[in-house]
C-alpha cells in the first residue's frame, strides 16, 4: 500500500489497516503524535478505529521547541 506521509511517498505493508497500526509500524507508539488524514485531524481516540487505505495523504506532527 502506498501512502503519502509528511510529503513523502511511503510503501507500507498491506496488513496495516488502521492509523494506530501505522503508528506502530513506525515505532511511534510512545511518542506524542498528532495525525491528520486527508486533511481531517484525528483525535487520539480515533486512531484505533480510523482505516488507512492506499493513496491516503497523512500528516504526522508533533510539538517541537518554539517561542
Amino acid at each position: 500500500m502506498e501512502l503519502r506521509i509528511n510529503g513523502q511517498l511511503v510503501t507500507v505493508p498491506e496488513s496495516i489497516s488502521t492509523v494506530l497500526e501505522l503508528i506502530h509500524h513506525f515505532n511511534l507508539e510512545n511518542r506524542m503524535i498528532i495525525v491528520e488524514q486527508n486533511q481531517t485531524i484525528l483525535e487520539k481516540k480515533e486512531h484505533e478505529i480510523t482505516k488507512v487505505k492506499n493513496g491516503d495523504i497523512l500528516e504526522l506532527v508533533q510539538f517541537v521547541g518554539g517561542g
Binding site: G7, L28, M32, E59, F63, G66
Partner: protein, 254 residues
C-alpha cells in the same frame, strides 16, 4: 495572579522552548524560571527516526500549561489548522496566534491575525494573539474576544528590548484582558520595564535560550519580572526636573 480565560497562574513569565543548547540546560532553565506556561510549535515528525528525543516528552506535563503557537503560518487558514492540530493532542486548548507577514522583520500580519483570532474564538480556543504594538489593533482583538493581547516589544529574537514604551502603555491602559509583552526582550531590565509599564506578563525565549548561561538568565528573568511587577503595584514616584532633598532641612544649624 495572572488570569487568562478560565486559567489562573502565579508566574508572570511565559517561556519559549526553542534554541536551547541541549535538553538538560533547557529543563533546568524551565525549572529555575518558575514558568507555568511553556510555548511550543507544531511540526512534521521524522517518521524514520522514531528514537529522536523530544524535550516535551521529558517534562511532567501536569506541572505546566502548554501554549502552542502557530509559527510558520502565513495566513489565517494555516494558523487555524496549526491550532486544530495542537488541540488534537488533547493537551491544550490555549493557542498563541502567530501569523507572520514579513520575512525580514517577522512582524505579524494584522489582517490575518484578526481573521485567525476570530475563527479560533468561535471554535472555543483560549486565544492569545501575537500582535505588533498597534493600539487600535489591540482594541479590535479584544473586541473579538481574545483572552490576552501579546504585543511585541521589538522584532522576534532581536533582543532590542522595548522600542515603543508609549504604545505599549496605551495598550496596557485601554485593555481589560491581560497584556503579555512578547518578543524582542533581550535583558532582565527589558523584562522589568515591561512589567513596570503595567504588563501582566512577559513571554520570552531567545533572551534565555541563547544567553551564555541560560539557567542563570532564566533566574534573572524571573526575578526581574517579579521586581518589575512589585514596582508597578507599589507605584513609582513621578519624574521631576529638579532635585528634592530626601533629608529634612530643619535643624541644619545644630
Amino acid at each position: 495572579m495572572l488570569k487568562i480565560g478560565k486559567y489562573t497562574f502565579h508566574s508572570r513569565l511565559l517561556l519559549g522552548t526553542g534554541k536551547y543548547p541541549d535538553f538538560d540546560i533547557q529543563k533546568r532553565a524551565v525549572e529555575v524560571s518558575g514558568a507555568e506556561i511553556l510555548t511550543f510549535t507544531v511540526r512534521r515528525m521524522n517518521i524514520f527516526e522514531p528514537s529522536q528525543p523530544n524535550f516535551l516528552e521529558k517534562l511532567n506535563l501536569e506541572n505546566y500549561s502548554l501554549l502552542p503557537n502557530t509559527a510558520g503560518a502565513k495566513c489565517a487558514q494555516e494558523a487555524v489548522r496549526h491550532a486544530q492540530l495542537a488541540k488534537a493532542s488533547g493537551l491544550c486548548d490555549m493557542i498563541k496566534v502567530e501569523v507572520i507577514g514579513c520575512d525580514k522583520t517577522l512582524l505579524p500580519d494584522p489582517v490575518e491575525t484578526l481573521k485567525a483570532t476570530e475563527e479560533l474564538i468561535k471554535e472555543g480556543f483560549t486565544v492569545l494573539p501575537y500582535t505588533s504594538d498597534d493600539v487600535v489593533l489591540a482594541r479590535r482583538l479584544e473586541e473579538l474576544g481574545a483572552h490576552a493581547i501579546m504585543p511585541g516589544a521589538s522584532p522576534i529574537g532581536s533582543g532590542q528590548g522595548i522600542i515603543n514604551p508609549v504604545n505599549l502603555r496605551f495598550i496596557i491602559e485601554q485593555t481589560k484582558v491581560p497584556v503579555i509583552v512578547d518578543a524582542g526582550i533581550g535583558s532582565p531590565s527589558d523584562a522589568s520595564l515591561a512589567m513596570e509599564l503595567g504588563a501582566d506578563a512577559v513571554l520570552l525565549n531567545t533572551a534565555v535560550s541563547s544567553a551564555n548561561d541560560p539557567v542563570m538568565m532564566a533566574n534573572a528573568m524571573r526575578l526581574a519580572i517579579e521586581g518589575g511587577r512589585f514596582g508597578y503595584e507599589a507605584g513609582r514616584i513621578p519624574k521631576k526636573r529638579y532635585a528634592t532633598a530626601s533629608s529634612p532641612m530643619e535643624g541644619m544649624s545644630v
